[in-house]
Amino acid sequence: MTIRTIDSSKCETCPLRLGPGCPVIESCPTDVLRGDAQGRPHIAYHEDCHSCLLCQWDCPYRAVEVSHEIPLPPFAFI
């Protein structure tokens, strides 16, 4: 569901991580991601992902995989 994986092996050679900072962490509107000591992104608040795919688009190395599937509230339907 929602943001699935970040393949951090792809972050090793990323010049952005060591320079201006990981664009994936900054792109998230709901602030789901955080950086570790090396500036690599990890999923800190998974429950707040709304599956908008901005993080996936913003990673030039395709390290992020997002699923479209999201948990919708059952009480809102019949």
Partner: protein, 578 residues
């Protein structure tokens, strides 16, 4: 007290880094030395416009009257006609500015802007762009002009010259919260422009979980009049296969998608009013409220699920969808759905998210609210339905940016007492060891307002009951919400805005005794142009409670020829059919 907090001084503070906020900041910076754009996320990756692809085309010569008339008609005559006029007239210049700055609009082989009718448009036209490209371009323009960005800063409440909410004075600043450090930041300024969009229920729909109604709620608390809040929430049906939620419904409909029930029936044609319409075989012009109600009725009466059916489509049409709806089509692919071979289940749902311009803060021709120094732009301002939100962002942002700059240099010291009171309330959830988390309160609120009998089919007794439950939650649970870190603290403050918005939406819905757009009252199942060409006006009393009044709409240019009661096309009494 302020010495405990970071204090930032600026001339104009813009709240929200979507398209309207960027326009406001860019224009304000042309006129005022210091402009700060505060954004809860990242400017250009926040707001709704980054996910949008359509705006109003430039007005062709000699079309002004025709466009304005159509726009006012589509607002159900509830538009502020003066504001509608400004939006139509000024948008040309803004589109030109954007192109000059590098925003790419779709053009045909001859190089002309590709202007097309979409979603029920008859004479007015829309043009396409790529939301992300547009927002990045606008971000760069703002930075190039020297707008100061305060990113990951949530603005929570406004500071007023008399230290009061609601104020009898004017705006002197705002209280913000850094979303990662949890630091309180005090902004001192001459004007605040609210550009933070609508309200979402935070249920992972429409990519809007970050758009939480904070700007609208803070404006209400500070004393701004709010108009037609019953129209602030809209029903949607972008829930495919009950698994994911993407845009594109309208594209499918405009290209001839059929909507069918479990038995394969095109159920809209069952409704006499619909069957008599100009194009009964075409679902592209059905108003979303009607469509969602008709779908819900099929589900309630046991003929669900309801499907979008593209099986009769040509491969060329499907290729077109792949081009214009890449995200939605990729989602279908990932779920193993072949749209040319199987119908796609589609579920209506009230998302309590209004991207519409039919509700919001009352503004004058400068887009200034009833509180001096407080401006509202984009979908935060009530302009009237029938508008393209992105065009509204362009013009309201630009004009409010320009007008607010006149207040530069009028900074007044915020009252220490007000700063301290607000800051303590903002931070209080961190000090609580017990109490519900914001997510739990969101869930409780949504369980009250989202079920169909409150959201899609409204009725007085049920609305009163829902409002009562809502008020209990506001009184008992909001004051004890806890947070364990700054991230949860943001949500604890957001849920307060959401509860305020729900109170406004439901109070307005109870007051408006007619049906129009997404607001359907089964006890008043008609649009009542005789008695209800009125705005509902909500304002805050000294205790923060909602005062509601109604006011006839001023109709200077266009009015219905023979005002009458027009029965709702899709009528239903909840519970009767089950």
């Amino acid at each position: 007290m302020t010495q405990n907090y970071v204090v930032k001084e600026t001339d104009v503070l813009v709240v929200g880094g979507g398209l309207a906020g960027l326009w406001a900041a860019i224009r304000a910076k042309d006129m005022a030395p210091r402009v700060t754009l505060a954004e809860k996320g990242k400017v250009s990756r926040s707001g709704a416009s980054v996910f949008c692809h359509s705006t109003r085309a430039p007005l062709p010569e000699n079309q002004f009257d025709v466009w304005l008339k159509e726009t006012v008609e589509r607002s159900g005559y509830l538009a502020d006609q003066k504001l509608a006029e400004i939006i139509i007239l000024e948008n040309n210049k803004r589109i030109r500015d954007m192109e000059r700055w590098g925003v790419i609009f779709d053009r045909d082989e001859k190089g002309s802007l590709r202007a097309e009718c979409v979603r029920g448009e008859k004479t007015v036209r829309s043009i396409s762009f790529q939301g992300k490209q547009m927002m990045e371009t606008m971000r760069n323009v703002a930075l190039g002009k020297g707008v100061e960005f305060a990113e990951r800063v949530m603005i929570i409440d406004l500071l007023t010259s008399d230290g009061q909410h609601p104020t009898k004075g004017h705006i002197v600043g705002a209280v913000g919260l850094h979303t990662r450090t949890g630091d309180v930041i005090i902004f001192k300024c001459g004007a605040v422009i609210i550009s933070s969009g609508g309200t979402s229920a935070k249920v992972h729909c429409h990519y809007a979980d970050n758009i939480t109604g904070d700007g609208l709620a803070m404006a209400f608390r500070a004393g701004a009049d709010m108009l037609n809040m019953e129209f602030a929430a809209n029903p949607s049906f972008g829930n495919w296969e009950r698994k994911f939620n993407t845009g594109g419904q309208q594209q499918f409909l405009m290209n001839g998608a059929r909507i069918i029930n479990r038995h394969g029936e095109r159920f809209l044609t069952k409704y006499p009013a619909w069957a008599r319409s100009e194009e009964p075989e075409f679902e592209g012009n059905v108003e979303f409220g009607d469509l969602c109600r008709a779908m819900a009725i099929e589900l309630l009466e046991g003929r669900g699920p309801v499907y979008f059916d593209l099986r009769s489509w040509s491969q060329e049409n499907i290729r077109k969808m792949r081009r214009v709806l890449p995200v939605t089509m990729a989602a279908f692919d990932a779920a193993g759905i072949d749209v040319s071979k199987q119908p796609i289940e589609c579920t209506p749902m009230m998302v309590n998210y209004g991207m519409s311009t039919s509700a919001g803060i009352r503004v004058d021709v400068n887009f200034q609210s009833t509180v001096p120094g407080l401006f509202a732009t984009g979908v935060c301002a009530m302009i009237g339905a029938g508008q393209k939100p992105q065009a509204v962002c362009n013009v309201t942002g630009y004009v409010s940016g320009e007008k607010s700059a006149a207040l530069a240099g009028s900074n007044k010291m915020p009252s220490q007492e007000q700063v301290s009171k607000i800051a303590q309330r903002v931070l209080a959830p961190l000090q609580r060891g017990k109490g519900p988390l914001a997510d739990e309160v969101y869930d409780r609120l949504n369980r009250i307002v989202m079920p169909y009998e409150i959201s899609l089919f409204k009725e007085e007794t049920r609305l009163r009951r829902a409002l009562g439950t809502l008020r209990n939650i506001v009184a008992e649970q909001l004051p004890v919400v806890r947070a364990r870190n700054p991230h949860e603290l943001v949500k604890a403050n957001e849920v307060r805005s959401y509860a305020q918005m729900l109170l406004l939406m439901l109070s307005g819905a109870l007051e408006r005794k007619e049906s129009r757009f997404g607001h359907y009252r089964e006890d008043y199942p008609y649009s009542d142009d005789i008695n209800w060409l009125k705005w509902t006006v909500a304002s805050s009393d000294e205790n923060g409670e909602i005062k509601l009044e109604t006011e006839p709409v001023v109709l200077p240019l266009y009015r219905p020829e023979e005002p009458s009661r027009i029965p709702a096309r899709i009528q239903f009494t909840f519970g009767k059919g089950r």
